[in-house]
């Protein structure tokens, strides 16, 4: 039976889709059969980030409505043999997500896949609720700033009260914190919240700290999950996070500013 993992945050623009792409690619590259689903019906970004937007014929909503079979809608990644993408519809809205429909699709996916990553839309409305309802584990993507932390706190409350596990009195959803867009230099200058400050408020285990990195935007634009970029610090941080998720004990990196010489500083500025 596969595990359902929701990538959620409450707030928009914090890196849920980037994280969904990186995490699913990371799990697949380690040999785990993984599917990543775009729950952001109507906006549809995941297929772009995954670089498969030109191969979408059927989508999640078609499968929910019974207009297509699951295997017709699943897109196999060209880079990783264990990775599949279930894109969403751009022409429909979140009302297309019915609880019964989502449950049916997830149940079918659980039989075929080890990990099912649900890329949640922002907010706490229907789309986000559907993405988290069936979750076994949740990765809370948070930026080191107060409004993002507040929204993450809110979504943790929703997970604890409105997920299936909460409603049916099962073991609670396992929560992990992923702090993204972390800029140690700005933290040192007091412009961003420290890891410890965020942990004090949210009080859930830390899965990873992803440094702010130009490679993330670049990776998005070329449709390659950043975890597949061997040169990228963010990619390294995501690989570590995937390792920790799978139970490895790895030291946290990228939490302190790198000491650069004048020459390197100059290079960075002009880059």
């Amino acid at each position: 039976m596969g595990k359902v993992i929701v990538m959620t945050s409450g707030k928009g623009g914090v890196g849920k889709t980037t994280t969904s792409a990186a995490f699913s690619a990371g799990l697949a590259s380690r040999g785990h059969k993984t599917v990543v689903i775009d729950f952001d019906v109507g906006l549809r970004n995941l297929d772009l980030i995954m670089g498969c937007e030109r191969r979408v014929v059927f989508d999640f909503v078609h499968v929910i409505n019974g207009d297509a079979r699951l295997n017709q809608a699943l897109i196999r990644d060209k880079r990783l043999e264990h990775l599949y993408i279930l894109p969403t519809s751009q022409t429909r809205d979140k009302d297309a997500l019915t609880r019964e429909g989502v449950e049916r699709v997830l149940t079918e996916l659980r039989e075929q896949f080890e990990y099912i990553i649900c890329d949640s839309p922002a907010g706490i409305e229907r789309g986000a609720l559907m993405a988290l309802y069936f979750a076994d584990e949740a990765i809370i993507v948070t930026n080191p700033e107060v409004s993002s932390v507040r929204d993450s706190d809110r979504i943790l409350g929703v997970l604890q009260s409105r997920s299936r596990r909460a409603e049916e009195g099962l073991d609670p959803v396992r929560e992990h914190l992923l702090l993204s867009r972390y800029d140690p230099e700005r933290v040192e200058r007091g412009e961003m919240m420290k890891v410890d400050d965020v942990l004090e408020i949210l009080a859930i285990p830390l899965l990873g700290v992803i440094p702010e990195s130009r490679s993330v935007l670049k990776a998005s634009n070329v449709g390659t999950p950043v975890i597949l970029d061997p040169q990228s610090a963010a990619g390294d941080a995501y690989r570590d996070a995937v390792g920790r998720f799978l139970g490895e004990s790895l030291p946290f990196r990228f939490m302190r500013p790198e000491r650069r010489g004048l020459f390197q500083r100059f290079l960075r500025r002009s880059a």
Binding site: R150, D151, D153, R154, G157, V158, Q160, S161, I201, A203
Partner: protein
């Protein structure tokens, strides 16, 4: 267990309509003289103290003091309150006449509940010097084993109500989280959200917390917002109690 967490009533599941029981805290506005401009002036002053708190706040109009008053224009009163950005939703303790006027004006009638329990007068509270334990009055003493124990963090947007009992929280209350108790409130983590003790009017109820960072605290309907809390007590272990109509915050010994 009598304590409830947003207890849902029997749910009617139909194709598209869902009625569910819900529990909300409402402010009651005691209407003393709706025809006196002084009433509205005083109200404006009060609202100006915490405009965010009052903006679009649903209020229940308590008409207790108007039982023998001459009739007044209910619709006009509601209109004026709306001008102050309050949203009257119902009347309480009204006469038949007043209730009828309320219904005609499009708001509801609330019966029973609310703060019928009298707020103990300062004399009954018998304020003691800082930190000294006091005998709980009979009214404040909950039956044994009725205290609501919460072991998980209370997150932003969550609301926990301990009806007829105290509440003990072993974790932190996040900003945007809310605790309500008819009795005392104990927080062993950091209190960042809101805490309302003595919700039904028990002025002897207290709030205790290991670290005070609250947005708002209230006891028996008297409140204090963060801006009015002394800076030197922020982040400190404190107890909060009512002295007359004053919410007092003191460091724990």
């Amino acid at each position: 267990m009598t304590a409830t967490v947003r207890k849902a009533g029997p749910a009617e599941e139909t194709v598209s309509i869902q009625f569910r029981g819900g529990l909300y805290t409402l402010m009651r506005l005691k209407v003393s003289n709706p025809r006196d401009q002084a009433f509205f002036t005083a109200l404006m002053t009060k609202i100006a103290q915490a405009p965010d708190f009052f903006r679009h706040a649903p209020v229940v109009l308590d008409l207790q003091d108007l039982a023998d008053a001459p009739p007044f224009n209910m619709a006009e009163l509601i209109r004026r309150l709306r001008q102050h950005q309050l949203v009257p939703v119902a009347v309480a303790n009204g006469t038949d006449e007043q209730n009828k006027a309320a219904i005609n004006a499009g708001i509801s009638i609330l019966r029973g509940g609310g703060g019928e329990a009298p707020v103990p007068r300062p004399a009954e509270i018998s304020v003691l010097p800082t930190g000294e334990p006091r005998e709980p009055s009979a009214a404040a003493e909950p039956a044994a084993g009725q205290t609501l124990l919460v072991t998980q963090a209370v997150r932003s947007g969550q609301q926990i109500y301990a009806r007829h009992s105290d509440i003990i929280v072993l974790a932190s209350i996040s900003a945007g989280g809310e605790l309500l108790s008819d009795g005392h409130i104990h927080v062993y983590g950091t209190l960042r959200g809101r805490a309302h003790a003595g919700l039904k009017g028990n002025g002897a109820a207290r709030i205790f917390c290991r670290s005070l960072e609250a947005e708002l605290v209230s006891i028996a309907g008297f409140w204090r917002v963060r801006e009015d809390m002394p800076d030197d007590l922020i982040g400190k272990p404190v107890q909060i109690f009512l002295k007359g109509e004053q919410v007092v915050i003191e460091p724990l010994p």
